[in-house]
Subunit: 472 residues, 2 copies
C-alpha cells in the first residue's frame, strides 16, 4: 500500500464535477440544445438534434467539459452538401461567439460559449450498421455507454481520461493520434476499473492484444490480426467491423503502457495533474541547443487559416517525406517534430547530427563478378562531371568519390520545399505557403522567434528536454 | 586482331634479356655464388650453397634481375640460430656493399652489388615434404620449374611478370600481397601461355577456382574450399599441403582479373610499361584535397630502421584497428592507406567524410516489450552525466541524446595512439614510435611535408587520383 488508494481517492475527487459545475454545464447544454433545435426548425431542416459526447454520458472530467450537439439529418441529403447545409445552421446558433470549422471525416463547428467548448456536429440518422459517415455512430455510442455505465464506472472513466491527459496520450485527433473519450469508456467497461485498465496495459497488453467487450469475435480472436493491422485491436461494441484503436499511434500506445508501469511502481497524483514545466528562458534554450551539439533546422512559414486536423495531417505527412529525403541524402536525422499554433503559424523541426556533410561521397559498384553491371557502373561514373577520385578497388567492388548534390541540409530542404514541392511529398497547403514565404533557421537563429512566441517556446522546451513529464 | 599479337611481340622483346645482359647477370651470379661458398667454407659452416630464383630459372625480366643465393644448412641447427649464424656469413660476402636485413618467415640479407639486388637466404636442407621453414621449398621450386619450362614458356613467364608489375599486382611481400614469381611460373605451366592466363583470369576465375597443375587433388577438387579458405586456390606442385595464393590479397586478385579484362578488350603496351604519372604539384594537390571535400588525417611518425616486411605488417594491422575504432565512434571512413619509405619515415592515412561529428549522439534502447532490459537501459542513461536530452519514445524504443566521448577524429586517434596503444590493436613498434613523436596533420597541413618528400608525394598523388594507371 504505497498510497495508490489515497492517490486514486484524491484524484477521484478532483476529476468529479461538483454539483454547481454540473448545474452550470448541464444548464448550458440544455440551452444550446434548444437553440440549435430552434434554428433547425427555422431553417426547415429535417434533423434530429440531440446531446451526445461526455456531457450526455456524464463522463466529462471536472473543469474540462465539452458540449457535443449532434444534428442527425436524413440519409437522402447528399454527402457533399451535409457540411455546408448544417454548418450554416450551426453558425447561426453560436452567432457572436468565437467559432471555427474543424474536421473529422467531414466538417463540424467548434465554438466557445461562456468559456465552454461547444461542438455542433452534423451526421446522418441511419440504422445501426448502415453508416454513411463515421460520426453516424456517435449517438449509438452514447446510448451504449449510458445503458452500461454506473456511478462507480463513470468515476473510473474520469480517472482514466485525466490520467491519459496527464501523460499526454489523450485525444484521437490527428495531432495527438491518442485515445478517444469513447475508447476510455470501452476500456473501463472491459476491465471494470481504472486500476485494472492500467494493470492490463502495463503487464498484459502484447503486440496483438484484442479488446472485444461484446465478444463479437468470441472464439475467433486469432483471426483478428489478419483483419485489423494495428498494435492493439479494440472492437467497437456497436460495430464489429470497426477497430477503435486503428488511428492510435504506436508511440502513443507505448507511452501509455510505460506510464501505467511507472504509475503502478510509484503511484503519484502528478500522473493525473502534472506540474507545468516552465519553458526555458532564451538564454537557457540557447545553452540547451549548444549542449545538444546537433544542427536543428526550423522551417517556419505561415498559411491562411486552415482546419487544424487537415493542417496537422499535411504537417506530419510533409515531415515524413522530408525526413526520408534527408536520409536518402545521407543526413543523420536524430528527430523530427512539427508545431502549429493551429491558426497561421507553423514550423517543421529537423534535428540532424550535422547539417553539413563532406562535399563528396563514395559510390560503390556491384560485386566485381557481375561483369555487365560493372561495365555500366564504370561507364556512368568515369564520365561523370562530379567525379573527383577513383575508381579504386575496395572490398571486391569498384569505388568512386564524387561531389554530392546536396552537402548542406538547408539547401536540400529549400530545393524540396520550393522546387520539387508535391513531387517530393509536400502537402498542397504547405507547398503554397512555402512559396509565399519560407524561412529556414538553424539553432540560435530561432531565438528571436522563440522569445516572441510563448506557445512555440513551450513546444521547443519540451522537445529539447525530451523526457515525458511523468518521468520527472 | 586489334594488335594483341603486335603488343605481345613488342613486349616479348622488351622483357627478354639481351645476350650482353644475360652475360653480365649470369657472370655476377657465378661470382657471388663462389664468394658465398668460400665464406661458408672459411666459417666451417656445413652448408650447400646454390643459385635459386629467377636467374637460376632464367625467368627474370630484362633490366629487373635479382640474384637469389640459398644457403642450405643441416636440420640440426636450431631454428633460432639459423638467421644469426648464416647472416653473419652472408654479411661478410657482401662487405662494402649497401645491405640490409629483410624478413620472410626468417631473416635474410639483401645487398646491392653493381646495381643488382642480391639476396642471400638461409634455409634447411630437408627432404621434400619434411620442411622446417617455408623457404626450404625454394630449391625444389627451382628444380621443378627448370625441368618443365621451355624457351617459349620462359618468355611467357616474363610477359606475365611484367604485366603484373605494370598493373601493380606483382610481389608476394606483405606490402603488396600480390603474386610471387614462382606463382607466375606455375600459372604459365598451367595455362601454357600469357594469353591463356589472362583469358582465364578475365573470364573463368570464379570465387572458388582451383589451380592444381600436378593434379594432387584430381577428382576431389570440391574438397579444396574447405581445406583452403581463399578466393583463389593454387596448389603448390611440389607440396600438396600448400596454397600458393593464400597470402594474395582479394583486392589484388580482383585488380589482376579486371586488368586482364581491360587488356583483352583493348590491348596496349602500357599495361606492361605504364607511363609514369607525375606527382601533383603542391598547388594541385591542395586543390585536389579541396575537391575531395573530405577530412584526410595523416599520422606521421618516425621509427628506428626496421625490417620492411615487419614494418608493413604492423602498419597494416594498426591501420585496420584504427579504422575499426573510427567506425565504432561513428566516423565514416572513405578509405585508409599506409605509406613508408621502408627506412624511418611512415604515415597512416585516414580519409573521413568528416573529422568532426555532432557533440552528441542518440542512444536507442531495446524493444519496449523487454521490460527488464529497458529498466536497466533507463537506469543507466537517466543517471548518465553525458545525457543532454530524453528519453523519448521513437519507433517503439526509448531514445536518449548524450554527449559523445569523441566528436573529433583527431582526438580519438591521439587517444588510441598515445593512451590505449596495444590494447587498441596498435603494433608494438608503432606504439613506441608514437610516444617518441606523433604528428597528426589534416588536409592542407600536410603540404609542407609533401613538398619535401618526393616519395610521399608520389604515393599521395596516386592515392588522391585513385584510378589504377591501366584505366587511363
Amino acid at each position: 500500500m504505497t498510497g495508490i488508494e489515497e492517490v486514486l481517492s484524491e484524484a477521484g475527487q478532483r476529476v468529479t464535477p461538483s454539483a454547481s459545475e454540473r448545474e452550470r454545464i448541464e444548464g448550458l447544454a440544455k440551452r444550446m440544445l434548444a437553440k440549435v433545435q430552434a434554428e433547425v426548425q427555422r431553417a426547415g431542416l429535417d434533423a434530429e438534434v440531440r446531446l451526445d459526447g461526455s456531457v450526455a454520458k456524464d463522463t466529462w472530467v471536472s473543469g474540462e467539459a465539452d458540449i457535443d450537439i449532434f444534428m442527425r439529418v436524413p440519409a437522402s441529403i447528399p454527402r457533399e452538401d451535409l457540411g455546408e447545409i448544417c454548418l450554416k445552421v450551426a453558425r447561426k446558433t453560436v452567432e457572436g461567439y468565437p467559432q471555427r470549422e474543424r474536421f473529422a471525416e467531414h466538417p463540424y463547428l467548434e465554438a466557445w460559449v461562456d468559456g465552454i467548448r461547444v461542438n455542433i456536429v452534423p451526421c446522418y440518422k441511419t440504422k445501426k450498421g448502415e453508416w454513411k459517415s463515421s460520426t453516424d455512430r456517435t449517438p449509438f455510442h452514447t446510448d451504449y455507454a449510458n445503458e452500461r455505465l454506473t456511478d462507480q464506472t463513470r468515476r473510473e472513466v474520469r480517472l482514466l481520461k485525466r490520467f491519459m491527459k496527464g501523460v499526454g496520450v489523450y485525444g484521437a485527433e490527428i495531432k495527438t493520434a491518442g485515445f478517444s473519450g469513447y475508447l476510455c469508456e470501452v476500456l473501463t467497461l472491459k476491465y471494470g476499473s481504472f486500476r485494472n485498465v492500467t494493470h492490463s496495459a502495463a503487464e498484459k497488453w502484447t503486440r496483438n492484444s484484442v479488446i472485444d467487450v461484446e465478444g463479437h469475435y468470441r472464439g475467433r480472436e486469432d483471426e483478428l490480426p489478419r483483419l485489423f493491422d494495428s498494435p492493439l485491436i479494440t472492437i467497437d461494441p456497436i460495430d464489429r467491423g470497426r477497430n477503435l484503436t486503428a488511428s492510435l499511434s504506436p508511440d502513443r500506445l507505448e507511452e501509455f503502457k510505460l506510464a501505467c508501469r511507472c504509475f503502478l511502481l510509484n503511484p503519484s497524483l502528478s500522473f493525473f495533474f502534472p506540474p507545468k514545466r516552465a519553458p526555458y528562458s532564451v538564454e537557457e534554450i540557447g545553452h540547451k541547443m549548444t549542449e545538444h551539439g546537433t544542427s536543428i533546422l526550423f522551417m517556419l512559414f505561415e498559411s491562411e487559416e486552415v482546419v487544424p486536423d487537415i493542417m496537422w495531417g499535411q504537417l506530419y505527412r510533409t515531415q515524413r517525406s522530408l525526413v526520408n529525403a534527408l536520409q536518402q541524402n545521407d543526413f543523420l536525422v536524430v528527430r523530427a517534430a512539427a508545431w502549429s499554433d493551429e491558426k497561421r503559424r507553423h514550423c517543421l523541426v529537423f534535428e540532424l547530427e550535422s547539417s553539413g556533410l563532406a562535399a563528396t561521397r563514395r559510390y560503390v559498384g556491384p560485386s566485381l563478378d557481375r561483369i555487365r553491371e560493372n561495365r555500366n557502373f564504370l561507364d556512368k561514373h568515369l564520365n561523370s562531371p562530379r567525379r573527383v577520385s577513383g575508381p579504386w578497388i575496395q572490398h571486391g567492388r569498384w569505388a568512386f568519390q564524387e561531389k554530392r548534390e546536396f552537402a548542406d541540409a538547408r539547401s536540400l530542404l529549400q530545393d524540396l520545399a520550393l522546387r520539387q514541392g508535391s513531387k517530393a511529398g509536400i502537402g498542397r497547403i504547405l507547398e503554397a505557403s512555402f512559396k509565399k514565404g519560407l524561412e529556414i533557421f538553424r539553432n540560435e537563429d530561432i531565438l528571436g522567434y522563440y522569445s516572441e512566441n510563448p506557445e512555440f517556446a513551450a513546444f521547443l522546451s519540451q522537445y529539447l528536454d525530451g523526457r515525458p513529464i511523468w518521468l520527472d
